[in-house]
Structures are given as structure tokens and as C-alpha cells.
Amino acid sequence: MSDNAAAAVDALVRAGTELLVYVPDSLLAPLYRAAARRDDLELIQANDEATAVGIASGASLGGMRTVAAMESSGIRRGCESLARLSLGHGMHCLVLIADRGGFGEPNWWGINQQWTLAPMLRTLRIPHVTLAEAGADLGETIADAYAMLDTRQTSAGIVASRSYCRWLAA
């Protein structure tokens, strides 16, 4: 198991995260595997991102610090739930998004994901920040994201760049 992934999960937990809901993807898989080894972080694998968003939004409303993790295509798949719950019901969640399709993407099927990620996050009114560098401080970023959720005005997004994801796997 990657020490870097374990460190990233440490950062999630130190920032207060209690529940990680995810749809499997290869870029964030090291994070999920590291999280599975923890007793202090509940982990749920969902079959689709709409379900992950719903669970995360419900858990957040119940007072649980939650992250919904997915690949960038997941924002498309979860778009209606994000829109309905976050924009319509004020039920917000924190989404952690692997930047599939980012600069350097070698897979043809990944390229289109980059074209839609930023416009969709803007359309969904999800302020977001990118973990651009290897070893970037996830904990502080997560804490800032939770502070935004506490305003009850917005969801928040953290995009894990290809560099960050490579670091997770190292």
C-alpha cells in the first residue's frame, strides 16, 4: 500500500472526515484501498455517482463529515442529483474528483472528461480548487471545504490533478 495514500487518508481523517462514499476509479483507487484499512473512517462503495452524492448529502445533513469521491465523469453522472439536492434543497456535499482527462491524459476515452468538468462545476455552482502538486495539503483543503459547507450555501469540490494522483499511487 502506498505511504502517500495512507498519508492522504490521515489528512482526511484529521480534517474531520467520517464517511467516504466513492465510485471506484483507477486514479483514486490507492486512496480507497488505504481508507479500507482504517477503523476510524466509514467507507461505502456506490454503484453510481448519483447515489454517492445522495448518501453524502444525507449524511452531511445528519451531521457527518462526508466526502463523495469520483472520477471527473462522475460529475456528469451525478449532475442531476447535485443540482436537485445542492441547488434546490440546500443539501450540500463535498466532492473529491480525480482529474481524468487532464493534461497528459493518454487514454482517448478520458480526454472528453476534461472538456466538461470545469464548465459543469461552474454550472452547478460548486466552487472548487485543484490539488495541483504531488503531496499537496489535502487536510487543509478539506478543512476549508467543510467550512464552506457549514455556511449552508454551497457544495464544494476538490479536484485531484494527475500529478497528485500519481503521487497517491507512488
Partner: protein, 191 residues
């Protein structure tokens, strides 16, 4: 059976502090009349059960969470059910009110008339109990998804629910915070 009678039986049998997560349309109208301050109204097909599951997992309501979904909503996000089968919060009760149509859209059939709910749920590791009379509700298998047949309910839908999603969120969030004994995080760190 009538939706009013079915949900009256469910609310009556639930823990007095149970929280409900309700789908839209006729179900929302009835839940508004039965438990207006204990119901999170979700006007989003397909999201009722995931939200209820999340709320139950938070586990801090210290009472059951009861999902009152509908056939159209349940069918819109079939992916949610295998996830629920894996997660199975012990404090989550799930009901599907099946009138076999999209009432709010003008009565188009939903497709549930062809669906064997019991077989579908069995195939993914969940039990389901069909309820055709209010007496069936009390005899539902513990932990099973309750499927309530309201296909013959032609009663008018009363539109008097006066909360939107955000107001409903705040009512339920306040109730949860009170039950936890800790206030909600402040929405600002400075005045």
C-alpha cells in the same frame, strides 16, 4: 389501498421520533398532513433512498429513518438498490408506494406494472414484502423493503405543502441537532 391509509399506518407504527424522507407528489402531500416537521421532503426522483441511507448512517438522529419512496423514483435510480443491499443501515426502514404511474406528470404509467419487486430485490440481496392492505404493513418481514400497492387510489391530491426543499432541510436539521444535543455549525465565523 389509499396512500393516506397506508402512510397513516406506517407513521403510526414508527418510533415517535422517527424521521421520514419522502418522495414527491401524492406521498409528499400525505406526509405533509401526517408528519410535517419530521419529514425531509425530497423533490428529486431517485434520491430519496440514498439521502435516507446517508441520514441513517449519520446515526445521530438516535431514532429510525424511514424512507417513503415511490415507484417512479425507485425506478429512476436502480443503481441505488445494490448499494443499499451492501450498506443496510440497521436504523433505516424503506417503503415504496407503488401506484404504477407518474401522478404529477399526468398519470403516465411508470413501468412498475411489469416489475416483480420481490424477485428484483431478492436478486440483489434484499427482501421485499408486498402490502395490498394496511394489515399487510404490520406483518412486513423485518428489514424488508415494503412495497405498498396504491394502484387503485384515485383520491385527489391536495397541494398544501408550504415548505420548499431548503425550509424542509432546516426543519429536519434543527430537529437532528436538538436530538444530538449539539448545535449545527454556525453559518458564519464573523458578523
Amino acid at each position: 389501498m389509499r396512500t393516506t391509509d397506508a402512510l397513516g399506518a406506517i407513521v403510526g407504527a414508527a418510533h415517535p421520533e422517527a424521521l421520514f424522507v419522502a418522495s414527491l407528489g401524492r406521498v409528499a402531500s400525505v406526509m405533509w398532513s401526517l408528519a410535517p416537521t419530521r419529514t425531509l421532503f425530497i423533490d428529486s426522483l431517485g434520491d430519496v433512498v440514498p439521502v435516507a441511507a446517508g441520514l441513517a448512517l449519520a446515526g445521530r438522529t438516535k431514532a429510525n429513518v424511514v424512507a417513503v419512496d415511490t415507484d417512479g423514483s425507485a425506478l429512476m435510480n436502480l443503481s441505488a438498490w445494490p448499494t443499499l443491499a451492501r450498506v443496510k443501515p440497521v436504523n433505516l426502514d424503506v417503503w415504496i408506494v407503488d401506484n404504477a404511474r407518474y401522478d404529477s406528470a399526468g398519470g403516465f404509467l411508470s413501468g412498475s406494472e411489469h416489475l416483480d419487486w420481490v424477485a428484483f430485490f431478492a436478486s440483489i440481496g434484499l427482501q421485499a414484502t408486498l402490502c395490498r392492505a394496511t394489515s399487510d404493513i404490520a406483518h412486513r418481514e423485518p428489514g424488508a423493503v415494503g412495497i405498498i400497492d396504491t394502484r387503485d387510489d384515485r383520491s385527489p391530491v391536495v397541494n398544501d405543502k408550504s415548505v420548499d426543499g431548503v425550509a424542509s432541510r432546516d426543519i429536519v436539521a434543527a430537529r437532528i441537532a436538538e436530538r444530538r444535543g449539539t448545535p449545527r455549525p454556525l453559518p458564519a465565523v464573523k458578523l
